[in-house]
């Protein structure tokens, strides 16, 4: 077994662009769930909208900054549309509406009626929208090796996307940290605990919930851009499973913490890669074929995460004392 190659692969996941994208999406979900108690079951829908918004406007010839703005605006409008009918109702309704709305976005994206725009189920090829982002890179062309990690500087799965992705993660963490310790964050926490109590203290609960939904959704759209830049926009790869991975990452790291989503994303992807690489090397093909190992990897991850949530429900960074109160 080639341990050094496995270790390099696994360690590479720590700062991979996908890890950054999921961390960012989980930070957005943390604003919804951890801070405000909103059950958003459609975070992948926000990401997919961001990805479409960015890719389609870039293909239409818009500059990078405008394409990013379009992506974020799409998510903001989506959040508003979802919030207007549901945020006055009890939390469960938002969960139902968001999961359905995310599916609607995906199904419209893959419908043949919009093939010219979205490429239907085959999606949009990465090369058709990557140029503006790669041109914005300050690095020269070529590859660069940092220790055992060697990636191209600008193209696709590059150092440039890693730098931007993790830069955004850091920025989002700073934002959440600032908001959590502000009076604004206090109102959100109050809403998470008991909406009516906060209402009785003169706060416009509906408006705060809307702000939270839109803010978290916009962060999700940014995550969508980071997610599709090294690959292609594939509506079917951004469906319900993606939402559930984001939830897993959030609960694993610890909801209502600043670094929980980041840590959760790193652990999630590293352990998945570890299990898959070790099994690919160690299990002979006569027992399990490569694609079966792929599936089995997800099963192991699922079981591990179930155990974690059962025995450490507050997540890795969460405060056990805080969670122990009023558990119903």
């Amino acid at each position: 077994m080639d341990w050094s190659r496995i270790l390099v692969n696994v360690a590479g996941e720590i700062f991979a662009p996908t890890t950054a994208a999921y961390a960012l999406a989980a930070i957005g979900l943390n604003v919804h769930f951890g801070l405000t108690g909103l059950l958003n079951m459609g975070q992948a829908g926000f990401m997919l909208l961001g990805a479409y918004g960015f890719a389609i406007s870039t293909i239409a010839g818009w500059p990078l900054w405008a394409a990013v703005l379009v992506a974020l605006a799409c998510a903001a409008v989506f959040g508003l549309l979802l919030g207007i009918p549901t945020l006055k109702l009890r939390g469960d309704y938002l969960a139902i509406v968001t999961i359905a709305a995310a599916e609607i976005v995906r199904l419209i994206g893959r419908s043949t009626a919009l093939t010219d725009l979205t490429g239907a189920s085959s999606g949009l090829r990465g090369n058709s929208y990557k140029d503006t982002f790669q041109d914005a890179s300050p690095f020269p062309d070529g590859t660069f090796a940092l220790g055992p990690f060697e990636y191209s500087l600008n193209a696709s799965n590059s150092w440039w996307i890693r730098l931007v992705g993790w830069g955004l993660v850091a920025l989002a963490c700073l934002l959440v940290w600032l908001l959590m310790r502000s009076p604004w964050g206090r109102v959100l926490k109050g809403i998470r605990e008991d909406e009516d109590a906060v209402r009785s203290l003169g706060k416009n609960v509906y408006s705060y919930k809307m702000q939270s939904l839109v803010l978290g959704g916009v962060i999700g759209a940014a995550a969508g851009i980071i997610y599709v830049l090294p690959r292609a926009v594939q509506p079917d790869s951004m469906g319900r499973p993606m939402t559930f991975f984001i939830w897993t990452i959030l609960l694993l790291g610890g909801a209502a913490t600043v670094f929980g989503p980041v840590l959760g994303s790193i652990i999630f992807w590293v352990s998945l890669m570890l299990i898959k690489s070790v099994m690919r090397e160690g299990v002979p093909t006569s027992i399990m074929r490569t694609e079966q190992i792929e599936q089995f990897g997800w099963i192991i991850v699922g079981v591990t995460l179930m155990l974690l949530v059962i025995f450490r429900p507050q997540g890795i960074l969460g405060d056990k004392k805080e969670l122990a109160i009023d558990v119903r």
Binding site: W184, D196, S200
Partner: protein, 337 residues
Amino acid sequence: MSADLPRGHVPPHVPHATTATGKDRVTADLSHVAHTPGVHKPDAIVVADGVTRHFGGMTAVDVGHLEVQRGAITALIGPNGAGKTTLFNLLTGFDKPSTGTWSFEGRSLSGVSAARVARSGMVRTFQLTKALSRMTVIENMRLGAAQQPGENLLTALVPPLWKAREKEITEQAEELLVRFKLDAKRDDFAGSLSGGQRKLLEMARALMSNPTMVMLDEPMAGVNPALTQSLLGHIQALREDGTTVLFVEHDMHMVRHISDWVVVMAEGKIVAEGPPEDVMADQAVIDAYLGAHHDTDLGDDALLEDGIQRLEAEEAGEVTDAFADTGSTTTTQEGTR
């Protein structure tokens, strides 16, 4: 007699008032007011007209006219299901009435959202205490304060813009916590407090916005006797500061002890109004709600035996009536009368 005076009219001769606020003043003001349901008060802070609320075919609240005197402690009493809490919910915007209008300090509050009612100075507490469990006591208190610039998403990102106000409200919160004897719990989670302490916290939190009127829904339920004493003190202190208090309560000793005015509800209607001594002597109120022994200690053995004998006699005679009529609470009470 003063029932005929126009609303807002202050009697020219105020016999006992020595201060601008407080018990003397309120007693003097209310001494001229007739003891009839829906009577006009000299200085009403809340005026409700024709407020009804139907749940399906059931009428939970049907208040023709109600005025609450400014600066007074007004108790709202009545049997379970009389519509007291529903009236609270309507007045504070937590529920929408079927018909009716009401005003607070002269401004109409019909159809105004709960948050805006609270911002206009009428703050309530809940029958089932709503402490924000996974927040510390001091954070609960800070949340109660009004006019916080940091509650805006954009200013929240720049601490210098809200630190000064934060310091102010923290000081105010700490003062209140000392008054309510919760200062030792400052940094504990509200969820770790006892039931009585949560009641205190909820009341203290409501006072953070310096309301002109507080509405307390059963403030004494589940609070031990020693704590009840201090809660009573707090409520009376509110009156001395000029705050209007309206509260729902089943503890008649408390009602008698601190309230200036008592409003009795039954089956959604206001059936009696007046100072506590008068209302509690009213035969209709005794029949509908208090019961004949409300003045005596129910732990008294002699009374208990007497009561059992009487109950046995009544049961033998009236059991058929009670089962024939499956009406509302008061009907059954009338049945056992």
